[in-house]
Amino acid sequence: MDENGKVTGEMPKLTNDEIKELYKKMVTIRVYDDKTMKIQRQGRVGPYISYLGQEACQVGIAASLRKDDWFFPTYRDSGALYARGMPLKDVLLYWMGDARGFANAGNNFPICIPVGTHPPHAAGAAFAAKIKGKDYVSLATFGDGATSRGDFYEAMNFAGVFNLPVIFVVQNNQWAISVPRSRQTASQTIAQKAISAGIDGVVADGNDIFSVIKAIRYAADKARSGKGATVIELLTYRLGDHSSADDQKKYREQAEVETWKKKEPVERLKKYMLSKGLWSEKFEQDITAEATQAAEKAITDAENIPSQKLDELFENIFSEMTPNLKEELEELKEAYKDRSTESTNKVEKIEGSFP
């Protein structure tokens, strides 16, 4: 699909309803992202990381996996988590600094914060599938920056040696905070890094959901049929700041941003659908309204969940609380005997540190 939504290659097998559903998901997660950014600016969410411009990656990945497949996301993949079925409320909890966000996450691992450290986990879950004779696949997604970390190469290498049913998806959004792709590696493509592990590397247009789906389906089918691992490089672009603490104007030309805006994935799919008679104002309004309503409810729900007691600080560290933790809990209770022992769901404003 080119910038105008015109199909240029072979289409993946998708019914019209499925295409509409994909579009709906992309619009929905964009609404979610937008809402979260808004309440972040109001101080109702802490640091947040938007995936604006990467919706085709997010939805395309999720739509190409089975529910029992394992997904290992980064901080930039909230959209994929929604598309995988995780409620906005739960993901919001994570961004609200609440450790309960992933307590019912299905086979979605909690967001990986240290960049690039989770490809080995995905390989491990894939190894488990192989040893247990299950046919799920395991997929980790991460950015172009993450591909400079040794963990990534090691995980690819293990995947190659053990022929693991794992997919490494690089969302190459051209920037790692202020470091451009050209400075991240001298390799021509990121996909070619797969050669170092003797596995397949594929480049796809990450702003074209059909291209994304084709690539992931290819890799998932391959993995499921025992033919091993794939690296998929999705070419995309981060349209917003790196995070709510970043200012992208400091390090990149705005002209570049403008160029990429023209290639952005939601508009592109819309153009395609328009050309096929699958899109209407009414459809757009309906799905936007539905998403907005759902978002508002989820935000309210997240903000109104029961607070956390101070005890919870010591839970889920080990399977049972150890003696020193019990002692520390008693100490903490004493320190809070005249104060509220519950967390608030308000994010207190903290001055300073970030510029």
């Binding site: 307590a103 019912n104 491990g124 488990a128 090691e154 053990f162 560290i317």
Partner: protein
């Protein structure tokens, strides 16, 4: 059996019992491990359950985390504890935290086995005692057995535990002596110290190879100076068995802590601090630390100077007695 055979027996028992138990590491398969700890298991359980990995410690742990989350019980081997540093981030940022950060949904019931400790004239980084750093980073259990019988029972408990456990094996003890060890499985609970020897005058707290050095020093002090020493083998380094320690100290009023790792912010400091906090009024002398020094573990020509030995422990006991 010596300790190598006892550990092998524990692995064998557990692999038999639970088909999710999977071993992985460098040279653990065909070669049976560079210390032969996994000898015979590759033949018995096959390449899917005794996995020779590429040379990459980060990933041995990293994959284990994913395997554990997905329902296996990985028992990973890092060839020497000085090479666990490569997997430090995986251990402390992931293995130790996944239960907490997923609100209890995902767990990491893995065991990391690794030979530790000095005294065998090994190359650099082959003699590390680094239990303190892993005990300081929350979320990991740390175990070090001091003999074959203990090793088997503790390892079986570690494998059955739902938490990530670092299981360090003192190389110097691998073949140092034999004990009666049942062929059948048994557990020694994690978190409980062993009272190696009762005594009245002074408590010596140690573990690993140093437990034996402490026992020898204790016997010598008893025979030659009539000082009655109580000797505790800590066995689990995190969480430590504070009750056993405090009970003993309340009785004796004097303490010597003996360990191989560096002193500064080591486990000896923690034990000393806890004793003062909980039993200061029982103390007739400050807890004395006899430890490795704050230098890298030395080249082997000078390792005899580095390691605590009977003489140093006796000096420590005398300091405690004559304060």
């Amino acid at each position: 059996m010596h300790m190598v055979a006892a550990i092998n027996s524990a692995l064998d028992n557990e692999m038999q019992r639970d088909k999710n138990v999977v071993l992985l590491g460098e040279d653990v398969g065909v070669n049976g491990g560079v210390f032969r700890v996994t000898d015979g298991l590759f033949k018995k359980y096959g390449a899917d359950r005794v996995v020779d990995t590429p040379l990459a410690e980060l990933s041995i742990v990293g994959l284990s985390i994913g395997m554990a989350a997905a329902g296996l019980k990985p028992v990973a081997e890092i060839q020497f504890s000085g090479f666990t540093y490569a997997s430090f981030e995986q251990l402390v940022s992931h293995a130790a935290r996944i239960r907490y950060r997923s609100g209890g949904k995902f767990t990491c019931p893995m065991v990391l086995r690794s030979p530790c400790g000095g005294g065998i004239h090994a190359l650099e980084l082959h003699s590390e005692s680094n239990e303190a750093i892993y005990s300081h980073m929350p979320g990991l259990k740390v175990v070090i057995p001091s003999g074959p019988y203990e090793a088997k029972g503790l390892l079986i408990s570690a494998i059955r535990s739902k938490d990530p456990v670092l299981f360090f094996e003192p190389m110097k003890l691998y073949r140092a002596f034999r004990e009666e060890v049942p062929e059948t499985p048994y557990e020694i609970p994690l978190g409980k110290a062993n009272l190696g020897k009762e005594g009245k005058d002074v408590t010596i707290i140690s573990w690993s190879t140093m437990y034996h050095v402490s026992m020898l020093a204790a016997k010598k002090m008893e025979e030659e100076n009539g000082v009655s020493c109580e000797v505790i083998d800590l066995r689990t380094i995190n969480p430590i068995d504070t009750d056993t320690i405090i009970n003993s100290v309340k009785k004796t009023g004097r303490v010597v802590i003996v360990h191989e790792g560096p002193r500064n912010a080591g486990m000896g400091a923690e034990i000393s601090a806890q004793i003062t906090e909980k039993a200061m009024l029982s103390l007739h002398a400050p807890p004395i630390r006899v430890t490795g020094y704050d230098t890298p573990y030395p080249f082997y020509k000078t390792e005899k100077f580095y390691l605590p030995d009977i003489e140093k422990v006796i000096i420590g006991i005398n300091k405690a007695m004559n304060f």
